[in-house]
């Protein structure tokens, strides 16, 4: 049996770990709240822009933009959004698992894939397992701005414009609630009309364009894609903090259990030592 002093040392070290995990839990909780606020603050823009993009895809424009046209798929692009840091449970692993399934499916069809990782973990994933990476963005911090994603999105849009990729997807975690985060894949390009607006699709119509329709549509659709990716990034941060909070909470609980067990062992060892000492004294007294 370990001596009392050794066990005391162990208890101290586990207590220190518990302090750290508890602090991380609290930090994650407060960051999660802020991330959630940011997520809901940026949602209206993404929704409105999405609505505009939907209207455009439903209108019968004089000019058909490449972003709205379905074409034969030879290469696809994936924007993969993950966290920069670990210690957040299975968040990133679950995302990669979903991604691998998707990749496998395209691979089996003979379609090649380009990647654009956002976040350190995605970057590391492709560094380890290979994959053609066109652009990446890491270390975005807790409060990324839209300008953080403009660069990577532009690279992917250029690739689409040049015919290097024929479809673009974004993979990120969806924030369901604090306990649940769901990895999702959504198509960015070509823009697909999801729920046709009954009133708008009754008869053909088109916008009045103040300037050149082509220029205008390119800018709007580029912003649409940017906002979708940005929304994904912001949502993923909320997921990361939620997952970290839960992971750290269970780590603190586990540390508590270990401390209890160790405390019991320590008390037993102490008692045994006292008993032994007593019996030695008694034996010594009897011998005299």
């Amino acid at each position: 049996m370990a001596s009392g002093k050794e066990i005391r040392g162990q208890i101290r070290s586990v207590k220190n770990t518990q302090k750290i995990t508890r602090a991380m839990e609290m930090v994650a909780a407060s960051k999660m709240r802020k991330a959630q606020d940011r997520m809901s603050a940026s949602r209206p823009y993404a929704q409105r822009l999405r609505a505009v993009a939907q209207h455009i895809s439903q209108a019968s424009p004089e000019y058909h933009h490449a972003y709205l046209e379905e074409r034969e798929v030879k290469r696809v692009g994936f924007v993969v959004v993950t966290s920069d840091r670990g210690l957040c449970g299975g968040l990133n692993n679950n995302l990669f698992k979903l991604l691998l399934g998707e990749l496998k499916r395209w691979h089996d069809q003979g379609v090649e894939i380009d990647f654009c990782p956002i976040g350190q973990k995605a970057s590391m994933f492709f560094r380890r397992f290979g994959g053609k990476v066109l652009a990446q963005a890491t270390q975005l911090g807790d409060a990324p701005g839209i300008d953080d994603v403009i660069g990577v999105v532009k690279v992917m849009l250029d690739a689409y414009d040049n015919g290097e990729i024929d479809r673009l997807y974004v993979v990120h975690n969806e924030f369901v609630n604090t306990m649940t985060q769901k990895p999702t894949v959504s198509q960015l390009l070509p823009v697909v009309a999801e729920e046709p607006d009954a009133e708008l699709s009754r008869h053909p119509w088109d916008y009045i364009y103040e300037q050149d329709a082509k220029e205008l549509l390119s800018q709007i659709l580029a912003r649409y894609i940017e906002s979708q990716v940005y929304q994904g990034v912001v949502e993923n941060i909320a997921c990361e903090q939620a997952a970290r909070m839960v992971a750290m909470k269970s780590a603190s609980d586990n540390a508590g259990n270990i401390i209890e067990d160790l405390q019991l062992a320590y008390n037993k060892a102490r008692q045994a030592a006292i008993t032994q000492e007593l019996s030695e004294i008694v034996a010594g007294a009897a011998a005299v």
Binding site: H55, L103, I113, S123, R127, Q136, A137, I146, Y207, S227
Partner: protein, 141 residues
């Protein structure tokens, strides 16, 4: 009561205004435009400048946007304001930065994904997590 339309002013990072209005004036690329209810569908880019929303009762409210877009539908007007500095040269620079970062991080990458290895390692990681959860349930922790 005056005829009104619904106005939304949103930027990528937050919602700025949402509510009914009698008129909206914004500086479009080709000059200022005023929008009244039942305007035909219109789509245009905005220049940096102010957006004036005339609320019910004729009270104006001013917002500054550093560019963006204006979408007009018969009953709703949406201003999508930019928050970031937008210019082709700025965007281009950002794109080059993103490309460089990728090249630096992946100097010795192979362009084929190693599915077998990735799957094996992921399965291991997921397995570990599941085992931990199962143990926790079993021992009631």
């Amino acid at each position: 009561m005056a005829i009104t339309m619904h106005v939304d002013i949103v930027s990528a990072e937050e919602a700025i205004y949402s509510g009914p209005a009698e008129m909206l004036v914004a500086s479009a690329e080709n000059g200022d435009i005023g929008i009244l209810p039942h305007h035909s569908p219109l789509l245009t880019m905005l220049k940096p400048g102010e957006v004036r929303v005339v609320k019910i009762g004729g009270e104006p409210e001013y917002y500054y946007v550093s560019g963006g877009m204006l979408e007009v539908l018969p009953h709703t007007v949406t201003v999508l304001a930019d928050t970031a500095m937008r210019a082709d040269s700025v965007d281009e620079a950002a794109a080059i930065r993103a490309k460089n970062e990728a090249q630096q991080a992946l100097k010795d990458y192979s362009s084929a994904v190693d599915y077998a290895r990735a799957q094996a390692e992921l399965a291991e990681a997921v397995g570990q997590l599941q085992t931990i959860q199962r143990m926790r349930k079993k021992y009631g922790r």
